[in-house]
């Protein structure tokens, strides 16, 4: 926790790219199913999100923009958290509170906020588990989102294009009115100061608040798409090969939307080309009439070039790479291990207590696998449902699996609430879940309702 907090603090000392790289290393480790390290995963996500946010070379010129970015930052962290399912209902608000702190004052208060979050998370997130992207299951919702995203983004980009973004070189970003470059028309207007901007007239064509807001919306939609894609990819990988076809219909429009949105954003973020006729002072007709202006001067540097290190596309790309790396690390560790606690079975197998603990973990993990399976089918346990109530409900939706589900619940309850477990129960629970993975089938009509 201390190391992680120190990393966050380092992020605030303008070592943000390094921070993202470090977070990229931490995240896969965090995702390994170890009861201690997994606590860090949500905070790693926060860190990646916050770092990415700060790397965006934008500053706040007014309260509206600040609030917009704040909302975007919160959305970002929330989506990442959802994608990794590290957020549990009980620390949702801690995330938001911390993020608000970060956005309002990205300095000491932000560090304090994240530090507080880490402590809070360590205290509260005792049983968090990392499950990527199971939150997004609504097929029609995804397609609608993709179409809506494309429409809004295209509209917003077209609106914002005339002005576009301008990024400065500072580490802390600045969103300021764009400077369009126009050719000089008269020699008299040539500046004689020898500054790098001589020979260039600057005309401010600032973005309107609406344009900025639309661009932000575009960015937010990009992030939504990214999270959805991650979730879908994960679900797809977990679906048996023979049944993967069903998810292609969601994957393709989403992926298409993501690519188009990314392209639009890249296009909008690119500085507009110099207007035709832009010239350096030495080339301007009549410039040599004044000897003092004849000495060779450097071509003007209008400082419209983007700082590549702080390019938002680069940031998003980094973020995507980080999440992808984390996801594959998760996949690899999951495939390699028979259960989700690979490190813990190193305990002395002769000890009955330790065997009991292992059996408990296995049954609980098997039950989690069952919940996850249900989730992929669109059946999610509501917070107020007990395991028995949930089993009865699932039994109604999938009558063929009802007996297995009831049996699994009967195996789970003594373990969860009675600290009663044994090896045979664990084996049986795992057998049932494996069987359900192959045979779980919803009643057609009821499945639609679910």
């Amino acid at each position: 926790m201390l190391v992680f907090t120190a990393l966050i603090a380092s992020g605030w000392l303008n070592w943000l790219p390094l921070g993202v790289v470090i977070a990229a290393v931490i995240l896969p480790f965090s995702i390994r199913r170890n009861a201690k390290t997994q606590l860090f995963a949500p905070w790693a996500s926060v860190y990646v999100g916050a770092s990415a946010f700060l790397m965006l070379p934008l500053n706040f010129s007014n309260l509206l923009e600040r609030l917009s970015w704040m909302a975007l930052g919160i959305l970002l962290a929330w989506l990442i958290g959802l994608a990794f399912d590290g957020i549990k209902e009980r620390n949702h608000w801690a995330w938001l509170a911390g993020l608000i702190l970060l956005m309002l004052n990205p300095s000491a208060a932000g560090v304090i906020g994240v530090l507080g979050l880490c402590i809070f998370g360590a205290l509260r997130a005792r049983s968090s588990r990392i499950r990527v992207g199971v939150q997004f299951q609504n097929r029609s919702g995804m397609i609608v989102l993709a179409i809506l995203g494309l429409t809004i983004s295209a509209f917003s980009i077209l609106l914002a294009r005339p002005a576009g973004f301008q990024f400065n070189d500072a580490t802390m970003p600045v969103l300021k009115p764009r400077t369009a470059i126009k050719p000089k028309t008269t020699a008299s207007s040539i500046e004689t100061t020898g500054s790098s901007r001589s020979g260039v007239e600057k005309v401010q064509t600032s973005n309107s608040g609406l344009q900025n807001a639309l661009l932000l919306m575009n960015l937010a939609l990009l992030l939504v798409m990214m999270a959805l894609l991650l979730g879908l990819l994960r679900n797809r990988m977990q679906t048996p090969k023979g049944r993967r076809k069903s998810e292609i219909s969601e994957l393709i429009p989403l992926f298409g939307a993501f690519i188009v949105l990314l392209a639009l954003f890249v296009w909008a973020s690119t500085p507009p080309p110099r207007l035709e006729g832009t010239k350096t002072p030495s080339n301007i007709q009549g410039a040599n009439q004044n000897p003092s202006l004849n000495k060779p001067t450097k071509p003007p540097e209008p400082k419209l070039e983007r700082n590549e290190r702080t390019n938002p596309i680069f940031t998003i790309f980094m973020l995507f790479i980080v999440m992808a790396a984390a996801y594959w690390a998760y996949r690899i560790t999951r495939e390699k291990t028979a259960n989700d606690f690979p490190e813990e079975p190193e305990l002395d197998s002769n000890s009955s207590l330790e065997k009991k603990i292992q059996a408990t973990n296995r049954v609980r993990e098997a039950y989690r696998g069952f919940l996850e399976l249900c989730s992929t089918k669109g059946i999610r346990r509501s917070n107020d449902q007990t395991s028995l109530e949930f089993a009865a409900w699932v039994g109604r939706l999938a009558p063929d699996s009802s007996v297995d589900v009831q049996h699994l619940t009967r195996l789970y309850e003594p373990v969860r609430y009675g600290q009663l477990s044994d090896e045979s129960g664990a084996l049986e629970a795992e057998r049932i879940v494996n069987a359900l993975k192959n045979n779980f089938k919803l009643e057609p009509l009821l499945g639609e309702i679910a």
């Binding site: 049983s127 588990r129 989690r368 107020d384 007990t386 949930f390 003594p414 609430y417 009675g418």
Partner: protein
Amino acid sequence: MIQEFGNRIKQNVAKVIVGKDDTLEFLLAAVLAGGHVLLEDVPGTGKTMLARAVAASLGLDFKRVQFTPDLLPSDITGVSVYKGTGFEFQAGPVFTNVLLADEINRATPKTQSALLEAMSEGQVSADGITRPLPNPFIVIATQNPIEMDGTYRLPEAQLDRFLVRLSVGYPDQTQELTMLERLQGVHPISSLQAVIGDGNLLEARKQSRSIHLEPELREYIVKLVHATRHLDATYLGASPRASLALQGVAQGLAGLAGRTFVTPDDVKRAAIPVLGHRLMLKAEARLKGVTPEKLVKDILSSVAVPVEK
């Protein structure tokens, strides 16, 4: 052992009361938790019969008091009588194991309150002397919620001392037919035998209290009870005694089901009987048709159950 205890009583009571398994189970869970029971329903639903049948099955000393408006506290607790050499305390009907307080809301609040000390502390103070009541001491009270004439609403303090409030309800047609057949001749209540030996109840209570309750379930109970204290529709929520009651009844239900651990289902099942009568509704809420049962259901659907995520 608890399951066997429950089964024996259920089978015995079934000779007299047809159906009502749920009510009987809650009643037994409350008895196992060491609490008192308020049976509330319309006349003729078998409240008194149920109480008598359970008392007879438990094989404990049983007394019945018909509460009336002119009943005095001393009629319940006892009175000192001068007998030549001095005053001698004549113990009232409260000095028993099972006290059936029939139509408790017909007595004045003063008389109703005579039971407060007995119910919460298992003792009676009269004439400056505190006398312990037999152990176990169970009050099974009945009241009619419909007929309000000549009745006195139970004070909150008194209601809080009842572990559960149960409703017997009407039997369905089949049950009513069976009842007619069974009660055609001599009423079986007169021949009902005790099925529980001496000390068995105390032993069962001890076992019930040792039933495992996960810390997260304890938190769940506390969350439920706390939620009752922040309702707009009530001016008084459930007391800390309600938390204890919910825990005890949930343990009792788990024991009767043959389990050595409590599940969230036990807690949820116990919530309405335990919390319902402890919520004091505001007048405007009552006028809007809000009921304590509905409020408890709302709370149950808003508090997260500790299950795997």
